[in-house]
């Protein structure tokens, strides 16, 4: 998974993005896992921009879905935690595709 939207970036920028994707995704997973429930919405908001900017499109879509759940006033604390767990599990499942990712 590298997200197909290279968008004509320069070779150097594209190489950097690809080299960093695995670490960026790992940091996002760690932050989502470890943050207190009260901070979850803010953390999701922050990693949303980072994952998308590093062209981690599938991961980015998961965060968009999580943010929508967290923004819904009817979402209970339990439902928010379930959404967090689902999102983290999906992000973890995306990691193997990035292992050893280098610029093509």
């Amino acid at each position: 998974m590298s997200g197909g939207s290279s968008g004509g970036e320069s070779d150097a920028v594209l190489a950097f993005i690809r080299e960093q994707q695995e670490a960026v995704l790992q940091r996002a997973i760690d932050e989502l896992r470890s943050c207190p429930p009260a901070d979850l919405r803010g953390v999701a908001h922050a990693v949303h921009g980072t994952l998308g900017s590093y062209q981690l499109d599938a991961a980015h879509e998961q965060i968009v879905t999580l943010s929508a759940v967290l923004a819904d006033p009817s979402t209970t604390v339990e439902a928010a935690e379930e959404a967090r767990a689902r999102t983290v599990a999906t992000l973890v499942s995306l990691q193997p595709a990035l292992h050893g990712n280098v610029a093509s």
Partner: protein, 229 residues
């Protein structure tokens, strides 16, 4: 001279991406991770443009923007996850020159930065004082001197002199002079030569050099190397 860009963002990954994209584009980049260190970096580096996140912690980007606006006019481009229209309006109200939402494309950021820098330069104040050899022109007071001798110029002669001194190394075409001095002119363009000749005579009578040198079929040049531009 290389433009310096100050990037202020609390996310190391975003700072790294912004820094690489702008460095690749030929800019010098300095970075800061929060509001106070960003303001300190502004004073230390006097950047040509600032790329600023909003969500920076205790002192958010809006407050940083307001504080920087209080002390200068350096262009500010927000790069932030806050994508709602109201967020953008608040950003512009705080003094932003442009607003880009995350996720962002590095090449789009580079394009926006370049555009804002060019726009800022286009808005620079026009020169109001010109010096070339013994000639000095002050547009605001509409005075022209050769050394210390004041020239008694008509409005047209003064405007012709300003156009020549504003383009000290170029030939200014008759058409450009007509448009610049007369606005619109539908008559004989020899009117330029008539007034230029009178201007020449007055400058020479005051002890000055020959100016308004005709370039056949094109226009006129100042005719002396400027001491200062």
């Amino acid at each position: 001279m290389t433009d310096t860009i100050l990037s202020i963002d609390d996310d190391q990954d975003i700072r790294d991406l912004i820094s690489l994209a702008l460095t690749e584009a030929g800019y010098r980049v300095v970075s800061a991770s929060d509001g106070p260190s960003g303001i300190a970096a502004y004073h230390a580096n006097q950047p040509d443009l600032i790329v600023l996140d909003i969500g920076l912690g205790a002192m958010d980007g809006l407050e940083v923007c307001r504080q920087l606006r209080a002390v200068g006019t350096t262009p500010i481009v927000f790069v932030t996850s806050r994508a709602e229209e109201v967020d953008q309006l608040v950003g512009f109200a705080a003094g932003a020159d442009d607003y880009l939402t995350k996720p962002f494309s590095p090449r789009l950021l580079v394009a926006r930065v370049g555009t804002v820098l060019r726009r800022g330069r286009g808005a620079e104040q026009p020169k109001t004082r010109f010096e070339a050899g013994p000639l000095t022109v002050d547009v605001e007071s509409r005075s022209a001197t050769v050394d210390a001798t004041e020239l008694d110029l008509t409005r047209t002669e003064f405007d012709l002199l300003v156009m020549l001194m504003d383009n000290p190394r170029r030939v200014v075409s008759r058409q450009a002079l007509l448009e610049g001095v007369w606005g619109s002119w539908y008559g004989d363009d020899h009117v330029v030569e008539v007034h230029m000749s009178r201007l020449r005579t007055k400058v020479k009578a005051a002890g000055g050099p020959r100016i308004g040198v005709a370039v056949r079929g094109v226009g006129y040049k100042l005719g002396l190397e400027p001491a200062l531009e």
